[in-house]
C-alpha cells in the first residue's frame, strides 16, 4: 500500500508551514470520532458472535473492509497531527490487514506454529491446530473443567511440514484431484500407494525430537503406555468422519513415531477418500493432528449415549460399563452392565441390567495389555454405584449442553475413584421423536408464556429447569445443579456456577458485559435486560427459556429442548461463525494496556484495537503538548479553570463552551458547556471526593498525584495539567487523578439520537486483583446506569447513547461522583466483599444526593 502523498517527508522539511491550531484541532477531533467509530465497529462485530444476529459472508467481508479503511485513515490522521511518518505504525497496520486477508481467503493462518501443543492449552479456538477431537477434549478440560487424561497433540502444522518435506503433500493433492475428476477410479490402489508412502516417510528432525521428548515425559520415562488418537480436521465435527481414522492403543514411548505415521496414513484410507469424494470436499486439503495420552489404568470403563437409541425410551440415556479397560466394550466383545437413566435431574435409574463379567482387560505392568479372569463377587456385581452413575449422568448432560448435540461419551474410572473423560463425539443416531420440527413449533405455540419480547440475547439456545432466584451478593456455593439462574443484575460472579446452571436470566445487564462473555464461552443460554424477570418468576418454578426468541415458557417444553439438540447446523460450527471468530482474533483483543510502559510502541500493536488505543493516546499527548507550547498558534487559547476541587484543569473552548465575557482566568460559573458543568457538579456535590481514607489529607493526596506522572509528563510546566476540550454540547475530558486515568467523551443536548457518553477508566498501582476488583466495581456502577460495559484487564469502557438529554445529564452527574469515589479506592479493596460494600455505599450516597437535588 502506498503512503498518502502528504506523508512524504520531503514535504515536511524543517521549514514546514505552521499548521494553524484550528486545523490540528479539527484533525484531533476527527481522530477521536474515528477512534470511537472503530471501537464501535469492533464491538459490533463481536456482538455478532452471540447468536442474536443473522449475518452472512458479505457482512464479514464488508465489515473487515470498512474497519481496515477506518484504521488506515486513523493512522494517517495521527501522522498529520504529529507531522511524522509513523512508518512502524503503518507496518503494524499492514501486518494485521494481511493476516485478516489470509483468514478471509480460507488459508487458515495457524495461530500457533508449534509442533506440539499440550492439552492444557487447547480449546476449540485452536481446532485448526489440534484437530476437532482433541480440541473438544481441550474444551472439556479447559472450559468445562472436567478431568481428562493429560497429554498433548501433534499439530496439523506438523503434519503439513512432514508431508511437505517428504514431497507427499503434492502427491496427496494430485491423487485427490485425479480421484475427484474420474469419479474414484482405482481408489483402492491409490489409497494403498499413498498410505504406504506415508508409513515409510522420514519425519523432520525437529519434529522427531519434539515428539520423542514429549512422549518420553508423558510416559514417565517409558513406564506407562500411550494411546495415539486421530484428530483430523472435520472429524467428529461439521462432517462426520467418525470411526474412519485409526487410533493406536497401548503404544510404548519408543514406538511413538511409527504409531504417529500409522494414524497419519489413515487420513487417506479408502473409506475416508470415498467420503470426501462423495461429500464435495475435493477442494479442501485435509489435515491430521494426532493426540497422545497415557493409557488410563481404569478400574471401570465404558460408554454413555446421552440419548438411548431406543424408540420407546427417548427420554433416557444409556450407560454401558465393564471392569478394566474400555476396548472390549467399544469392540463389542465384552459382557457389560447396562443402565438406563433419566435425562432429567436427578437422573433416576430406570433400569439396570447386570451381566456376569467373566473377564476383564487390564494394563500389563510389563507393557501391553492382558485379559484377566474376574473372580469372586465382582463377577456378578454392578460395576457402578448409584453415586457414580449420577455423577456420570450429570457430567454427560453438561457436555451435551455445551456441544449442543446428543453425545457418545467414552469414560473411565480409576481405582482411586476419579472419573476421566476420554472422548466425546456427536452421536450419529438422532432421537426419533425430534426429527419432526413441527412438534417443536406446536409445543411453542401451546405453552403458556411467562415473559416475552423483553431482553437481549447474550447467548442463544434453549434451556429448561427450576428457577433459582439469586439475590445481590448472595452466596453461590449451594447453587443447585440444573437450575436456571434468575437475578436482578448480571454479574461476573455467576461464572462460578455456570457449569451447574442451565440458563441465566437477569432483569438488567448488557450483552457485552463480562458475564455475557463467559456465558458465550460456556454456551449457557442467557437473556439479559429481561425487565421484570425476578418479579414474574417464582423460586423453584419449572420454566423453559428460549433465549433465541426471547421467550420464557411455563413448565418444561420438552419438544423445544429436544429440538435444540438436533439443529441441522450448530451455529458455532458454521463457516461464518468460525471465520468471524478467527478474524476477530486480529481485531478485538487489546494487548497494549499501559501507556507508561516500555512496550507501548507501534511495533507491538497486534490488533486493530491496539492501533486505535495507541493512536488515541498519542493524539491526546500531542494536543496537550500543542496547547502548552504553541499558545501563539491557538485560536481558542487554553485557559486555566479555577475549580472548587484541585483538578488542575486546562480548558480549550472550541465553540460556546464558556461565557464570552470571561477573561483568561475562568471559574466554574463561566462554564456554558453542560456536560462539563454537570460532571464537575457530580464531583463536588455528591461529597464523594471527601471520602479519602483516614490518614490521607490533601497534602498526601497531592503527593500521590505527583508520583503518578511518569516520564512523559516530566516537563514541570505540564504537571497537574488535565485537559477539557469543550463546546456548548461537547466535552472531551482527559483526567489523571491520583492513580487513575479517565477519559470522558460526551455530546449532549442536540437531538436525542446524537446524545452519547463514552467513559473510559484505567490505571492504578496496586496489585492486579485489587485493580480488577475496582474494574468490576466501576463496571457494575456503569451497568446500573445503562452503559454498555467492557472490561479489558483493568481498563473499563462504558458507552451509552440515545437517551433523553435529562437522563444523560444524570449519568454525567453520576460519573462525576464515580470519578471522585474511585479516586483512592484500590488501596481499600482488600476483598470481594469490600467491593460489594463500596458498591452499596456509592449507590446510597448517590441516591441521597439525588433526593436533595430534586
Amino acid at each position: 500500500m502506498r503512503l498518502p502523498v502528504w506523508i512524504n517527508p520531503r514535504n515536511w522539511r524543517r521549514k514546514k508551514p505552521p499548521v494553524p491550531f484550528s486545523v490540528l484541532f479539527k484533525k484531533f477531533k476527527s481522530i477521536l470520532e474515528r477512534n470511537n467509530a472503530i471501537l464501535e465497529l469492533i464491538a459490533d462485530m463481536g456482538d455478532k458472535l452471540g447468536g442474536d444476529y443473522i449475518y452472512d459472508r458479505q457482512y464479514i467481508l464488508s465489515s473487515c473492509e470498512k474497519l481496515g479503511d477506518q484504521v488506515f485513515k486513523l493512522v494517517s490522521d495521527l501522522s498529520f497531527l504529529c507531522q511524522r511518518k509513523n512508518v512502524a505504525l503503518f507496518n503494524a497496520f499492514e501486518g494485521i490487514q494481511h493476516r485478516i486477508a489470509e483468514e478471509l481467503a480460507g488459508r487458515r493462518t495457524l495461530s500457533r506454529t508449534d509442533h506440539i501443543l499440550p492439552l492444557a492449552e487447547l480449546t476449540h479456538d485452536l481446532a485448526d491446530e489440534g484437530g476437532n477431537k482433541m480440541a473438544s477434549l481441550g474444551d472439556i478440560r479447559n472450559i468445562l473443567g472436567f478431568a481428562v487424561p493429560e497429554g498433548f497433540v501433534i499439530t496439523a502444522g506438523a503434519y503439513f511440514e512432514a508431508m511437505e518435506q517428504a514431497g507427499l503433500r503434492r502427491l496427496a493433492a494430485e491423487t485427490t484431484r485425479r480421484l475427484c475428476a474420474d469419479g474414484g477410479q482405482d481408489l483402492a490402489e491409490e489409497s494403498r500407494r499413498l498410505r504406504q508412502a506415508i508409513l515409510a516417510m522420514p519425519l523432520p528432525k525437529g519434529l522427531v525430537r519434539a515428539v520423542e521428548q514429549a512422549a518420553k515425559q508423558l510416559s514417565g520415562n517409558g513406564r506407562e503406555l500411550l494411546a495415539v488418537r486421530s484428530s483430523a480436521w472435520g472429524e467428529d465435527g461439521e462432517s462426520s468422519f467418525a470411526g474412519m481414522y485409526e487410533s493406536v492403543l497401548g503404544v510404548a514411548a519408543g514406538d511413538i513415531l511409527d504409531a504417529y505415521r500409522q494414524v497419519l496414513a489413515s487420513l487417506f484410507c479408502e473409506q475416508a477418500l470415498r467420503y470426501r469424494l462423495h461429500h464435495d470436499q475435493c477442494a479442501e486439503e485435509p489435515a491430521m493432528a494426532v493426540g497422545v495420552m497415557p493409557m488410563v489404568a481404569a478400574a471401570v470403563s465404558g460408554g454413555l449415549y446421552t440419548y438411548a437409541p431406543l424408540g420407546e425410551q427417548d427420554q433416557a440415556m444409556v450407560v454401558s460399563a465393564a471392569w478394566g479397560l474400555g476396548k472390549p466394550i467399544v469392540d463389542g466383545t465384552a459382557e457389560t452392565d447396562t443402565f438406563l437413566l433419566s435425562r432429567e435431574p436427578p437422573h433416576k435409574l430406570l433400569s439396570a441390567d447386570i451381566s456376569c463379567k467373566s473377564t476383564q482387560l487390564s494394563l500389563d505392568p510389563q507393557g501391553g495389555t492382558r485379559t484377566l479372569e474376574v473372580t469372586g463377587p465382582a463377577r456378578d456385581a454392578s460395576c457402578l454405584s448409584d453415586e457414580q452413575l449420577a455423577r456420570l449422568a450429570r457430567t454427560a448432560m453438561n457436555l451435551e449442553r455445551f456441544f449442543k448435540r446428543p453425545l457418545d461419551v467414552e469414560w473411565a474410572i480409576t481405582s482411586q475413584g476419579d472419573l476421566l473423560l476420554l472422548q466425546a463425539r456427536p452421536l450419529s443416531i438422532r432421537p426419533r421423536a425430534c426429527a419432526l420440527a413441527p412438534d417443536a413449533a406446536e409445543a411453542a405455540r401451546e405453552a403458556p408464556v411467562l415473559l416475552s419480547g423483553k431482553g437481549i440475547t447474550a447467548m442463544g439456545g434453549v434451556a429448561s429447569g427450576p428457577v433459582q432466584l439469586v439475590g445481590e451478593g448472595e452466596d453461590l456455593s449451594d447453587f443447585p445443579y440444573g437450575a436456571i439462574l434468575v437475578s436482578r443484575h448480571s454479574s461476573p460472579r455467576f461464572a462460578k456456577v455456570m457449569p451447574k446452571c442451565r440458563g441465566i436470566i437477569t432483569d438488567v445487564g448488557s450483552a457485552t458485559g463480562h458475564m455475557a462473555t463467559i456465558a458465550r464461552e460456556l454456551r449457557v443460554p442467557t437473556l439479559v435486560g429481561a425487565g421484570p424477570a425476578t418479579r414474574t418468576l417464582r423460586q423453584g418454578q419449572e420454566i423453559t427459556l428460549d433465549a433465541d426468541h426471547v421467550v420464557v415458557y411455563e413448565g418444561l417444553v420438552e419438544a423445544l429442548c429436544r429440538n435444540e439438540l438436533v439443529r441441522e447446523d450448530v451455529f458455532e460450527e458454521s463457516w461464518e461463525y468460525r471465520t468471524l471468530k478467527r478474524v476477530l482474533r486480529h481485531v478485538s483483543p487489546l494487548t497494549l494496556l499501559d501507556p507508561q510502559s516500555e512496550a507501548f510502541r507501534p511495533e507491538n500493536c497486534k490488533t486493530f484495537h491496539d492501533i486505535a488505543r495507541y493512536v488515541h493516546q498519542r493524539a491526546v499527548d500531542k494536543l496537550i503538548g500543542l496547547a502548552e507550547t504553541h499558545q501563539e498558534i491557538t485560536q481558542g487559547a487554553p485557559r486555566k479553570l479555577d475549580t472548587r476541587l484541585p483538578l488542575g484543569l486546562t480548558v480549550i473552548d472550541v465553540e460556546g463552551g464558556l461565557d464570552p465575557a470571561a477573561g483568561p482566568g475562568i471559574e466554574e460559573k463561566d462554564i456554558r458547556c453542560r456536560p462539563l458543568k454537570t460532571i464537575l457538579d457530580g464531583m463536588t456535590m455528591t461529597g464523594m471526593w471527601e471520602t479519602a481514607p483516614v490518614g490521607v489529607d490533601m497534602g498526601s493526596f497531592m503527593s500521590s498525584l505527583t508520583r503518578t506522572f511518569g516520564a512523559d509528563m516530566a516537563h514541570p510546566a505540564r504537571l497537574g495539567r488535565n485537559l477539557a476540550v469543550i463546546s456548548k454540547e461537547y466535552l472531551n475530558l482527559h483526567l489523571r487523578l491520583g492513580y487513575h486515568f479517565t477519559v470522558v467523551d460526551a455530546y449532549l443536548g442536540g437531538s436525542i439520537n446524537d446524545n452519547v457518553i463514552f467513559f473510559r477508566f484505567m490505571g492504578g498501582v496496586t496489585d492486579l486483583t485489587r485493580r480488577s476488583r475496582r474494574a468490576s466495581l466501576v463496571a457494575a456502577v456503569l451497568e446500573q446506569f445503562d452503559f454498555v460495559v467492557e472490561i479489558k484487564g483493568d481498563m473499563v469502557t462504558g458507552r451509552v447513547k440515545k437517551h433523553p438529554t435529562r437522563a444523560m445529564l444524570d449519568k454525567m452527574f453520576m460519573l462525576g461522583g464515580l470519578i471522585g469515589y474511585t479516586r483512592q479506592l484500590d488501596a481499600r479493596l482488600d476483598s470481594d466483599e469490600a467491593g460489594q460494600r463500596h458498591l452499596e455505599t456509592f449507590f446510597n450516597r448517590l441516591a441521597a444526593v439525588k433526593e436533595t437535588r430534586e
Binding site: 455478532k48 444476529y53 452472512d56 459472508r57 458479505q58 457482512y59 406446536e442 429440538n563 447446523d569
Partner: protein
C-alpha cells in the same frame, strides 16, 4: 451444492399444492413462511428459528427452486434476499405477488440503499430489513403481518 432443501420428513399436516382448502387438522393452522437467500447460512439459521417459534417454514438457497415452490403452493409470508445469483429479489417479489397478491413479502438485504428500499416498497413489500439483523427483529415483522392479516386470534 444445495444443503438446505425443505423438510424431507413428511409433515403430517402440511397442505399439499396451492391453497388446498381448509386445514384438515383441528388445530389452528400455522402461518407458513418461505425463505429465499443464496447465502446458505441465512437459510440454515432462519428455518429452525421460525420452526421453533411455531411456524411452518421452508428455506431455499436456489432461486429457481423457490420459484418452483411458490408456483406449487401459497405462503403467508415470503422472506427474500435482494441480490442473488441468477435472480433478482425484486423479480422474485413480482412473481410472488402476481401468483398470490395476499402473500406478504419481507426483503432482507446486505446492500440497503434508499433507492432499493423505495423500489421494494413500490412493489408492495411489507418490510425491508438490512442485514445483519437481529432474529427478534424479523420475528417482529412476521408477527406484524400476522396481526394485520388476522392470522392470529
Amino acid at each position: 451444492m444445495n444443503p438446505d432443501t425443505p423438510d424431507d420428513s413428511p409433515v403430517p399436516h402440511a397442505p399439499e399444492g396451492a391453497a388446498s382448502g381448509p386445514d384438515p387438522s383441528p388445530r389452528r393452522r400455522r402461518t407458513s413462511i418461505l425463505i429465499l437467500d443464496d447465502e446458505p447460512i441465512v437459510c440454515k439459521r432462519l428455518k429452525p428459528f421460525f420452526q421453533k417459534a411455531g411456524y411452518e417454514a421452508e428455506a431455499y438457497s436456489q432461486p429457481a427452486e423457490a420459484l418452483a415452490r411458490v408456483e406449487q403452493r401459497r405462503f403467508d409470508v415470503v422472506i427474500t434476499d435482494l441480490k442473488m445469483q441468477g435472480l433478482d429479489g425484486l423479480a422474485f417479489l413480482g412473481k410472488v405477488k402476481a401468483l398470490s397478491p395476499d402473500t406478504d413479502v419481507i426483503v432482507i438485504t446486505g446492500f440497503a440503499t434508499l433507492e432499493t428500499a423505495r423500489e421494494s416498497f413500490r412493489k408492495g413489500v411489507f418490510d425491508f430489513v438490512a442485514k445483519p439483523f437481529k432474529l427478534t427483529k424479523i420475528l417482529e415483522g412476521v408477527r406484524r403481518i400476522e396481526k394485520e392479516r388476522g392470522l392470529v386470534p
